[in-house]
Amino acid sequence: MDGLLQPVVDLFGPTWPLVWTLVKIVAIIAPLMICIAYLTLAERKVIGYMQVRIGPNRVGPLGLLQPIADGVKLLLKEVIVPSGASKGLFIIGPILAFAPVLAAWAVVPFSDGMVLANVDAGLLFLLAITSLEVYGVIVSGWASNSKYPFVGAMRAAAQMVSYEISMGFALVCVLMISASLNLSDIVMQQGQGRFADMGLGFLSWNWLPLFPMFIVFMVSGIAETNRAPFDVVEGESEIVAGHMVEYSGMAFALFFLGEYAAMWLVSALTSILFLGGWLSPVSFLPDGFHWLFIKVAAILFLFLWARATFPRFRYDHIMRLGWKVFIPITLTWVIVVAVWMLSPLSIWK
């Protein structure tokens, strides 16, 4: 392999590390884009079957070309910039909503050693870059200079920051146990413990000792991505499509892609932080990327299931859940885990 690549390395000379990094980035983004596209189809199919319909089935066999048809349709639509809008910010808005979700994948480990940047501050980077998403929402809502986007952006921003707090406290719990901000280390740490030695690795993962945090993190993840049942932001019956009302064509497509990319990201994070990432649940099966994919797919299915099942929350209920239920729970659990770790009963020696 190295011998094969040598002529190429020589060709690029000192710029080789940059070129190699770009190759790896493309190797992450290209499959990710396909995953995002097919998640939209999967969502329509899954919800279709849950509502005793068959979902899209016209474009290609079983409707498998539907995402491509959707993409081409959006590409050929006019990108309308309203006369009253702040033009520059209006264009920057969707880019700001999409770029951070994509950039966050830089530190996500897919398998042992299979990570673009194995940085020690991985979790901190994730927390920082996913916070930037809220700017995309605020900027687009403000720049549209229209009432629905403005009200929608306000709601979305308040909701996103509220749930970020409970997510942050849940991360602190994971940190206490793993003693590292490096995502690969966090996964490896979950492979140790009494049950892992017995060959039942899945009982050693963080979801069990941190069960309340696991639930809080997952629900907060749904709220962070503004998905149903927390989708008041784009509640059709009240504020049409929230901050996306004035967007059309590819500008709208960016919000759409961003939302689905965020779903993949939150699911991948939940798998890595709580479900042992690429680790196999039992010792007689080999670890590997496929386990991460299975876990992520299972969590995404839960997302879609929740959308098909629950009615939309009222906005004051959403804020109450975030501020008055999740924050006390997470705060308490931080203290519980701290006491547990310092006591002789600690299982994380």
């Binding site: 990094t21 770009l22 790896k24 980035i25 959006l74 590409l75 050929l76 639509k77 006019e78 990108v79 309308i80 910039v81 309203p82 006369s83 009253g84 264009i91 969707p94 880019i95 700001l96 999409f98 770029a99 994509l102 950039a103 830089a106 673009l116 940047a117 940085v119 549209s144 229209s146 009432k147 403005f150 009200v151 308040a158 920051v161 970020e164 707090i165 942050g168 991360l171 602190v172 940190l175 206490m176 003693a179 590292s180 009302v245 004035e246 064509g249 590819m250 500008a251 497509a253 960016l254 804020m319 109450r320 501020w323 008055k324 924050i327 705060l331 931080v334 701290a338 770790m341 994380w348």
Partner: protein
């Protein structure tokens, strides 16, 4: 050490580029036929009544301030959480390391209770 972060920087730039490309493509591939009706702000078919830069509820502002306080608190918790294992392993430091953070969390808790009592978390 720092060169580990180089791919992250590149990825952020690529991410931004990936955001720009669809908009440029859409602009090139899609039609461009503006007219006054199409470009007016959406208001369910009405002429817009007034400017959209309306007054908004002060509670959004309050939430933003509270978010900054709590998020800062979490940022302060991060380094402590990272070394908690070491604290637990070091004899003599154990109780100090624990109660130090409990005092810090206690102050946060008092503020949280006060905010709750004042009704800043109410939405009607």
């Amino acid at each position: 050490m720092l060169e580990n972060y180089f791919p992250v920087l590149i990825f952020i730039l690529v991410g931004l580029a990936f955001g720009c490309v669809p908009i440029v493509l859409g602009r090139l591939a899609g039609p461009h036929r503006p007219d006054a009706e199409k470009l007016s702000p959406y208001e369910c078919g009405f002429e817009p009544f007034e400017d959209a830069r309306i007054k908004f509820d002060v509670r959004y502002y309050l939430i933003a301030i509270l978010f900054i306080l709590f998020d800062l608190e979490i940022a302060f918790l991060f380094p402590w959480a990272t070394i908690l294992k070491e604290i637990a392993a070091t004899e003599g430091l154990r109780l100090f390391g624990f109660f130090e953070m409990m005092v810090f969390l206690g102050i946060l808790l008092i503020g949280y209770i006060w905010v709750w009592k004042k009704g800043a978390l109410e939405w009607e």
